[in-house]
């Protein structure tokens, strides 16, 4: 070191760089390192590692948890006495099995027929509309142009399907508070 400083005196620039770096390491603004017992340090390190590991585990457990599907989760309260809840087994007679199979088949057929009916209607009305537009084109090209413009104002079309009972006229809803019990899954 002394040799180095002796050499350093020879060059003006070198002196500066060497002499200035040394005081920086122990600047007055730096906190002075406390001397710690290596045993304690080891312990601290271990504790910190443990804590980090725990945090990682926690994050892995909770980070990408999908929201539960209520229908698929086990209802713990009801599952406790599940044996009590079993119904007595029922032996179906051959006739009953047949009846069910036939009913299913009939139902499937009826749905198929319904679908074909709908399909025929759609095809029919499309043909009918095409024909009408062709006629319109012959009669008046201007009206045809107006007719083939998309009617964006009509969309989206929202209809509420038929209910089982008609709406009650002059129905007065009973008083009450609206409490939203929907669970929120954002965090």
């Amino acid at each position: 070191m002394s040799l180095l400083s002796n050499f350093a005196k020879l060059s003006l620039f070198q002196t500066r760089s060497i002499h200035q770096t040394l005081p920086v390491a122990s600047s007055v603004f730096m906190k002075r390192q406390k001397k710690i017992d290596p045993e304690v340090a080891k312990q601290r390190e271990a504790r910190r590692r443990k804590r980090l590991e725990k945090e990682i585990r926690h994050m892995q457990k909770h980070s990408k948890k999908p929201k539960p599907v209520d229908e698929l989760t086990l209802d713990v309260k009801s599952a406790k006495n599940i044996e009590e809840r079993r119904r007595p087994p029922i032996e179906l007679t051959i006739e009953q099995i047949d009846e069910r199979a036939i009913a299913l088949k009939d139902y499937t057929k009826s749905r198929g027929a319904l679908q074909r009916e709908d399909d025929a209607w759609i095809r029919g009305v499309l043909t009918s509309q095409r024909k009408a537009l062709e006629e319109l084109k012959k009669v008046s090209p201007e009206l045809y142009e107006a007719a083939v413009q998309p009617a964006t104002a009509d969309l989206p079309l929202i209809m509420h399907g038929p209910s089982l009972t008609p709406p009650i006229k002059n129905y007065e809803a009973p008083d009450g508070d609206y409490i939203d019990t929907t669970r929120v899954w954002t965090s």
Partner: protein
Amino acid sequence: MHLSARRFFAQNAPKLDIFASVVLSRAPVIAPPMSEVEQRFQRLQKAEEREKSLLNDYELKTKQDEKMVARREQLAREGKELSELDEQIGVTNAVREDEWKRKAAELDAKYNFSTDSGTLDAKSLQRLLDRQVVLIVKQKLGEKGYTSPWILPQMKHRAGETLRQTAERCIGEISGGDFSASISGNAPFAVFTHKYPAPVAQKTGVPCAKIFFFMADLAQNSEEFSVNPEDVSDYQWVNREEFWKTVPGTDYKKAARYAFLE
């Protein structure tokens, strides 16, 4: 090119009247009753689901109740103290069910759910709630002393408006009352060519009229519907079968048959 094409059409187009006709329909308000096949399938499906299911809390309590009531009867026969057991039993499910039935009957009586809407007269919007019904009219069509047979409401096209606008004007002019309707689409879904009788055609020089049909849906909150007596002398709401029975002209009905979707 466009201009010349237009001129060509204007010169060579056959002279004819253009009408827009509106099929104003009210969608079914209530679901139609299930067919026999559907009913049977539903009944059997429910039975199967029940067989495969587990007992729920309510059914467990019913079972428990039955046991308790049986025990109570036994104790009563032996002449023992019952007050403690009664406290344990509390309100049985049988009692609850009776209460619910009573309330349901009350509601039924109050609101009269089972009204037969088939008996209402043909002018009522509340008739045939489980069917699609459309409006047919006897129209005067702006001619003195003339009334059309039963037809779908129609209106002659005026220069300068689109066919859809004619259809909208048609709804506006034939009707009154508190209702709203919306026409679906700019394009007509069907066309019908009406040939005028020979004397009329000779007099006016127009051999036929093209009637373009549009569909329109009555909004669901429409309460009342009435017609403008200056243009319409009579009207009724009819379902598909009644439409075929009432309206004359097979070709006319065939042209408009896609108005019914059921």
